[in-house]
């Protein structure tokens, strides 16, 4: 694999990765807004993505991911705002921007009447590779990158969903783009293919390519991204490494479980009166509850329990996963 020879970028959340490398900006989104008649799909989105970053854009359905990507792919003009690739205004110079960018839409289309190599050869020719030998080399290299060299002569209609995704990814890589925009690239991929995709993308990022990936499956993104950005109802809620995103989202909710030596009823009565506590459950010698507050408040709560002569035997804390966070974000608050 030619593209896999470069070292992997630093993992998600590490100091050397993500925003820490922000100096130059490869993708610069400023105050982006996309309206459909009276519906605002993307509202005042501002993002700066440095070269070599793999930015995961997450959010529930209708968050504005696809609209943002369509604007980035120059397929749609925003209602307001500007987008720059390496300083090029994509609305003013779409042709130049398209040369820098590779776009892979959700449910990417593959013509059923072509073979895999014919599909890639067509796009290689369309991107200006006129020499047949060069085209062959380039298509073979891209097929190798996505691990599909063995399916070169297969018909596109014979491909599985995951294989189709990979063929389209190979097509997206044909003109060696500096900015990759991938809308749900891993949907339909088996774990092995996902691993290959991750490796391929990390290799590309290591060569300086900037990659934007959308997904609503956070675990999938956290495996391959150097930064995350959370959208909901068109607004940017958080942007940064996983930890930064968690704190930006104000995730102070966690489930605490206490193992007691003393009878739990007295402690339970006291805990039930605390405003920071909900969903209290009492078992024989265990109490579990949802606690909302920062680490300081949590320490104070435990201290208060000890002062009330509650004899703690064990203590367990479980924070919400990013997945649960996303569900929280997407769920509208109950009506009063």
């Amino acid at each position: 694999m030619i593209l896999n020879s470069a070292p992997n970028p630093p993992p998600l959340g590490s100091p050397a990765g993500g925003l820490a490398r922000k100096g130059r900006v490869a993708v610069d989104i400023r105050s982006l807004r996309v309206d459909y008649q009276n519906f605002v799909a993307v509202n005042d989105l501002t993002l700066a993505v440095p070269p070599g970053e793999i930015l995961g854009i997450v959010g529930p359905n209708g968050a504005g991911k696809t609209s943002t990507f369509r604007v980035l792919a120059t397929l749609m003009e925003p209602t307001h705002g500007d987008v720059f690739f390496d300083g090029i205004d994509i609305a003013e110079n779409p042709r130049q921007a398209r040369r820098l960018m590779g776009y892979m839409p959700d449910l990417a289309p593959v013509p059923s009447d072509l073979k895999v190599w014919e599909f890639l050869d067509f796009y290689a020719a369309a991107y200006g590779l006129r020499d047949a030998h060069q085209r062959r080399q380039r298509t073979d290299r891209c097929l190798e990158t996505v691990g599909l060299s063995n399916l070169r002569n297969n018909g596109c209609r014979e491909l599985s969903r995951g294989q189709t995704q990979r063929v389209v990814l190979a097509k997206t890589l044909l003109h060696e783009p500096r900015v990759l925009i991938l809308d749900e690239p891993a949907s339909g991929l088996d774990p092995l293919a996902r691993r290959d995709l991750r490796t391929a993308l990390q290799s590309l990022a290591a060569t300086g390519a900037t990659i934007l990936i959308s997904s609503h499956i956070l675990s999938e993104l956290s495996e391959m991204c150097t930064a995350l950005c959370v959208l909901n109802r068109g607004r940017l809620l958080a942007h940064g490494s996983v930890n930064e995103v968690r704190s930006q989202l104000g995730n102070t909710r966690r489930r605490l479980t206490l193992g007691l030596l003393s009878p739990p009823s007295e402690a339970a009565d006291w805990l039930a009166q605390q405003p920071t506590i909900s969903e209290l459950r009492v078992e024989s010698a265990r109490i579990s509850f949802e606690f909302t507050g920062d680490d300081e408040a949590q320490a104070e709560l435990l201290e208060a329990l000890v002062l009330r002569r509650v004899r703690l035997r064990t203590f367990e804390e479980r924070r919400s996963s990013l997945e649960e966070l996303l569900v929280d974000i997407a769920t509208p608050p109950p009506l009063p």
Binding site: T46, H80, D113, H175
Partner: protein
């Protein structure tokens, strides 16, 4: 990863090097696969062989002349070729384009750095490749029949050329509808409907004075070549008949049919290709720019008048003339006043309809206006680019109305002051009224579309345009006593204005006839009321545009502040 190395401008495929066109080559691969092509070829070859065999043997049996017998196979073979190219080819182009768009491939293509013209030509000639090959597979049979039937090259060469240009015209129509119409089902229906109209309905307008339209079909050249294609006796008889009906010549120029048909079709193909290129360049672009909309409108007026005017004095323009040739009254034939009025009304209706279509094309909707203002402010401009897609189409509509009014007046003038209607005069007031009618209809359409959008136009058409016509028809049909009221109500519809204008304006109308007076009353009412309404609506749309500008400016300022 290095900087992109592939897509420099030097490497871009030229639109005219069709053999290098990636889209065309993609279809060479997919549509000419031996497995799929083989069956089609077999069926075509067997059918062609059957046609030649049966026609020749029956011809020999009935005519006892090998030349005539061979000729009898030509027309069925041509029909088969026309069916493959026109019907199957157009369905393939339209359906193929709809599928491409449905699957999202069009979005992909849009991102590829190829010139829009390269993409359009690739699809135009790539999608129906199999149909071209199937039609070509019949050529050996027609070649044999023509050689055996001693058909001169001067007959078959123009015919085949026009068969090809007509096929391209229809394919371009299918490609345009497949590209533009968003709904899959509608796209297919509209595509078939447009081709059907181009071939059957629109050429019928030739019978009402708009003779140019038959040049959009293969008919004039086919008709000219027909005597050489038919068995000898039938061909000779047809040639005598053709001498009675000389074909119309553009401003009496001696252009051969094949040249003029080619030019007419090339004009239409060029127009469609321009529309498609605009759509490829930017999905949200108008089909035509304001400049090209005006140019198209003027070109249509010129070709309509160019064909119609020279036919007035010989009388060949009048539909009744062709009927009378077959009767004994042909010698003392004279056109009827009502016939002339109807022809002027048809010209007016067509001109108004075309003006409305072009107005609809160049009028920007609300979203487009907002985007236009946003871009203008971003570039430090305080106004929209003049005659751009986002600019108001009021001036363009005004120019179209003026040109349409002049064209309509020239037609009316030529007809009224011809030798057939002595004593009648077409004054300049007719020109003013014609312009006023066109402006009233197109101006209000443009203003409504600009300020309120397509839905409001639909409602307006129904309640202001169609409803008076329906109500008038019902009232008029109740009793003769209500006839005046019914006609008057129907006459106030803006749709009626172009039709009622000749009756109300021209001395050809018999004012003693019962129905004429209410038509004149309603028309005069319309000439005053509709232009005023149109002006008021234009004023409203102007205010609306100003408020959009203000809102966009405020949005821009707010965005800059929050940055």
């Amino acid at each position: 990863m290095n900087a992109p190395t592939t897509d420099s401008d030097q490497n871009e495929v030229s639109a005219w090097r069709l053999w290098e066109n990636p889209v065309l080559r993609r279809y060479v691969r997919s549509r000419l696969r031996s497995r799929d092509l083989g069956l089609g070829l077999c069926i075509t070859l067997v059918l062609s062989a059957f046609i030649v065999g049966i026609s020749y043997s029956l011809g020999i049996r009935s005519e006892s002349d090998p030349v005539s017998a061979a000729r009898s196979a030509i027309i069925p073979l041509l029909v088969l070729q026309a069916f493959i190219l026109f019907v199957m080819g157009t369905a393939q182009v339209s359906g193929g384009m709809i599928t491409e768009r449905d699957e999202g491939s069009v979005d992909y293509q849009r991102l590829v750095p190829m010139a829009p013209l390269t993409k359009v030509l690739g699809y135009l000639f790539g999608l129906p490749l199999r149909e071209y090959l199937l039609a070509a597979s019949i050529l050996p049979f027609t070649a044999w029949a023509m050689a055996r039937g001693h058909v001169p090259a001067s007959a078959w060469a123009p015919l085949y050329w026009i068969l090809f240009t007509t096929a391209v015209t229809y394919h371009a129509t299918g490609l345009l509808t497949g590209t533009v119409v968003r709904n899959r089902r509608w796209a297919f229906l509209i595509s078939i409907g447009m081709v059907f109209s181009l071939y059957t309905v629109i050429p019928q307008l030739a019978k009402f004075g708009l003779v140019f339209f038959k040049y959009l079909t293969v008919t004039p050249v086919f008709y000219e070549s027909l005597p050489e294609l038919l068995p000898e006796k039938a061909g000779a008889a047809l040639r005598i008949g053709q001498n009675f009906f000389p074909t119309p010549r553009f401003f009496n120029l001696g252009l051969p049919e094949v040249v003029f048909t080619t030019l007419s079709q090339a004009g239409l193909i060029g127009l469609f290709v321009m529309m498609l290129c605009r759509k490829w360049r930017q999905e949200e672009a108008h089909l035509l720019s304001q400049f090209w909309a005006v140019a198209t409108f003027i070109a249509v007026q010129v070709v309509l008048l160019g064909h119609a005017l020279p036919l007035i004095d010989p009388g060949d323009l009048f539909p009744s003339r062709s009927f009378r040739w077959f009767t004994s009254q042909a010698i003392d034939w004279k056109p009827d006043n009502k016939e002339a009025l109807a022809m002027i009304a048809v010209y007016g209706l067509f001109t108004t309809g075309l003006a409305c279509v072009l107005t609809g094309i160049v009028t920007p909707d609300r979203e487009r206006q907002i985007r236009g203002w946003r871009r203008a402010f971003k570039n430090g401009e305080d106004r929209l680019p003049a005659f751009g897609d986002t600019d108001s189409a009021t001036l363009c509509t005004g120019i179209i109305s003026l040109c349409g009014g002049i064209g309509w007046y020239l037609f009316t003038h030529a007809l009224l002051e011809s030798r057939w209607f002595p004593g009648h005069h077409a004054g300049l007031h007719i020109l003013i009224i014609h312009c006023l009618i066109l402006f009233a209809v197109t101006g209000s359409l443009q203003a409504l579309l600009d300020a309120q959008g397509g839905r409001a136009v639909g409602m307006g058409l129904l309640f202001i345009g169609v409803l008076p016509l329906m109500a008038g028809a019902i009232i008029a049909s109740i009793d003769n006593d209500y006839l005046h009221v019914g006609i008057w109500i129907a006459g106030i519809s803006p749709f009626s204005l172009p039709a009622s204008a000749p009756v109300a304006l021209l001395s050809l109308a018999d004012s003693e006839t019962m129905a004429v007076r209410p038509i004149q009353g309603a028309a005069r009412f319309g000439w005053i009321v509709w232009p005023l309404i149109s002006l008021w609506m234009i004023h409203r749309s102007r205010t609306h545009r100003q408020s959009l500008k203000q809102r966009s400016l405020e949005d821009r300022l707010l965005t800059n502040l929050t940055r």
